[in-house]
């Protein structure tokens, strides 16, 4: 999951924290687009035409990325892959550490996931805990033939034995850095930003 709350310099000053360096763009709109185009081609190549593939995006931004990948693949192949969303909130292992969260939307395309090749799509791969939750959620929905993972950014620091099959950008980061993916559907622009957490939250 991405950290979407970036405190402003004023907020940090008010809470007595050292103002962090401003968020720096590591991918601009064109680079995000190129990364998605490449992932779309890689999915087609690695799955020999993606005949039985189903794209499932993890809300919020992963869901938009899955829809975009489905469009890109449709441009190349002339047919639209089944795509939907998979909310993992109820399967997270940190539910008890934070206030009860609002649920996201799960939308499984017609035909389900049984016997299909499911490609999970998320914006940032970090600890791997979101993907662990997604695998549990998926197991309750059916039995896919295989599950693969596509992410726009892999920022490292895995806490579980999970890796991505398709990566838009490998981004070596420090623990105290934050990665923010911005997408036109929600944030009015495409970009990947790198910033620093305020000290208070660092090492969380």
């Amino acid at each position: 999951m991405t950290d979407v709350t970036v405190p402003t310099a004023a907020e940090n000053a008010a809470s007595g924290l050292r103002a962090p360096a401003p968020m720096r763009a590591v991918l601009d709109a064109a680079a995000v687009q190129r990364a998605l185009t490449r992932i779309a081609h890689e999915i087609l190549e690695r799955t020999q035409g993606a005949d039985d593939a189903v794209l499932l995006g993890i809300p919020t931004r992963g869901a938009h990325l899955a829809a975009r990948l489905a469009r890109q693949i449709a441009e190349v192949e002339g047919r639209t892959l089944p795509h939907g969303t998979l909310d993992v909130t109820m399967y997270r292992d940190d539910l008890r550490l934070r206030p009860a969260r609002t649920l996201g939307h799960t939308e499984i395309p017609d035909g389900g996931v049984d016997g299909k090749l499911v490609v999970l799509v998320d914006d940032v791969l970090f600890s791997g805990r979101t993907i662990r939750a997604a695998l549990d959620a998926l197991a309750d929905l059916g039995r896919p033939r295989a599950v693969q993972l596509a992410v726009l950014v892999d920022r490292g620091h895995r806490e579980l034995p999970i890796r991505a099959d398709y990566v838009g950008k490998n981004l070596p980061t420090a623990q105290r850095e934050t990665v923010q993916v911005r997408l036109a559907e929600i944030d009015r622009e495409d970009a990947v930003l790198l910033g620093t957490k305020p000290e208070r939250e660092a090492g969380r």
């Binding site: 539910l95 550490l97 009860a100 609002t102 649920l103 309750d140 929905l141």
Partner: protein
């Protein structure tokens, strides 16, 4: 046991419009589970929910039990009949027993108005309390599932006209619905014979009428209340036939409703008294839908109260924690 503040759901008066919409939206996501091969979520694994019922109930208790089990919570059913309560144990001593067993939430139905409030605020237990009906006071989850059903059938609640008919005096369902529907922007009209209209109803956020027929053509939904014979200690109407003729919902009255209007009943129904069998079994009746929606709404309430480190809905505790 969560470390954050303890919260309860005791009355619909405590719910803001945002809280109520959060519950309904969360319930809508849970409702989709019903179509899945595995209808269970691991979210409340290891939490204990006690159903403490001092009054008879089938659908509410089963509904709460199903909701808790679908979220993987452990459920303990405790009914006054066949327990130490029939030997004279007080609510306090029963509560202390539940506290010693480590309940995370207590779903309580009590014959006394204010029973749930007492349990929540007396300092006997540390768990969250959900009111599943207290005397003639409130039944918040019933109102929430009614609002959910109305929203699903009518496409929204803002400005919708809901008529609540029957034994308003004894009805906690009516009280909870009036408050919640007013919060959500619906216009509620209470219809009852003068003997069954509560004293001080002018102060409620709704209008009232003694005649049903003039209200029908202007109703988007009609909610029939059960005639609660068990709470009637005197004659509130001359005969059941007269009551049925003036305030019962039957085919002729249903025909006066607008095309899109629905007929609701919280159950259990007295067929032939407040609602005819023909109406109860018609396509306009939402009775079975209400039961199905009840599970989703109660899952949402349990999840929002127990699912995180601190509850997302409900009222703060008044007293100090023990």
């Amino acid at each position: 046991m969560s470390a954050g503040p303890r919260r309860h759901l005791l009355s619909t008066a405590d719910l803001s419009a945002e809280d109520a919409m959060l519950i309904l939206d969360t319930a809508a996501e849970f409702a989709r589970l019903a179509d899945r091969p595995i209808k269970k979520l691991p979210t409340l694994r290891g939490r204990t929910v006690v159903n403490l019922f001092y009054e008879d109930s089938t659908r509410t208790r089963i509904s709460f039990e199903t909701a808790a089990k679908r979220l993987s919570a452990d459920v303990i059913n405790f009914s006054a009949k066949g327990s130490s309560v029939s030997k004279g144990e007080s609510l306090k001593d029963t509560a202390l027993t539940l506290e010693a067993m480590g309940a995370d939430a207590v779903v309580v139905r009590h014959w006394a108005s204010g029973g749930a409030h007492r349990l929540a605020h007396a300092g006997w237990i540390r768990s969250a309390v959900v009111n599943a009906g207290d005397g003639t006071h409130e039944h918040p989850t019933q109102a929430l599932l009614d609002a959910y059903t109305l929203r699903a059938r009518l496409g929204g609640l803002e400005g919708r006209r809901v008529t609540v008919v029957g034994d308003v005096l004894h009805s906690r369902v009516a009280r909870s619905n009036v408050r919640l529907l007013a919060t959500l922007g619906a216009e509620v009209t209470l219809v009852a014979p003068p003997t069954l209209m509560p004293f001080g109803v002018e102060g409620w956020p709704c209008s009232s009428s003694y005649a049903l027929d003039p209200v029908l053509p202007k109703s988007d939904a009609v909610m029939m209340l059960r005639v609660q014979r068990e709470r009637m200690d005197q004659a509130f109407f001359p005969t059941e036939r007269e009551y049925s003729r003036r305030y019962g919902m039957h085919a002729d009255r249903m025909a006066q409703l607008p095309e899109h209007a629905v007929v609701m009943h919280p159950g259990p129904m007295n067929r032939g008294l407040e609602i005819s069998a023909e109406v109860a079994d018609s396509a306009r009746s939402t009775v079975t839908e209400q039961v199905a929606n009840g599970v989703s709404v109660r899952m949402a309430v349990l999840y929002l109260l127990l699912g995180g480190s601190e509850p997302a809905i409900g009222t703060e505790d008044e007293g100090e924690r023990r």
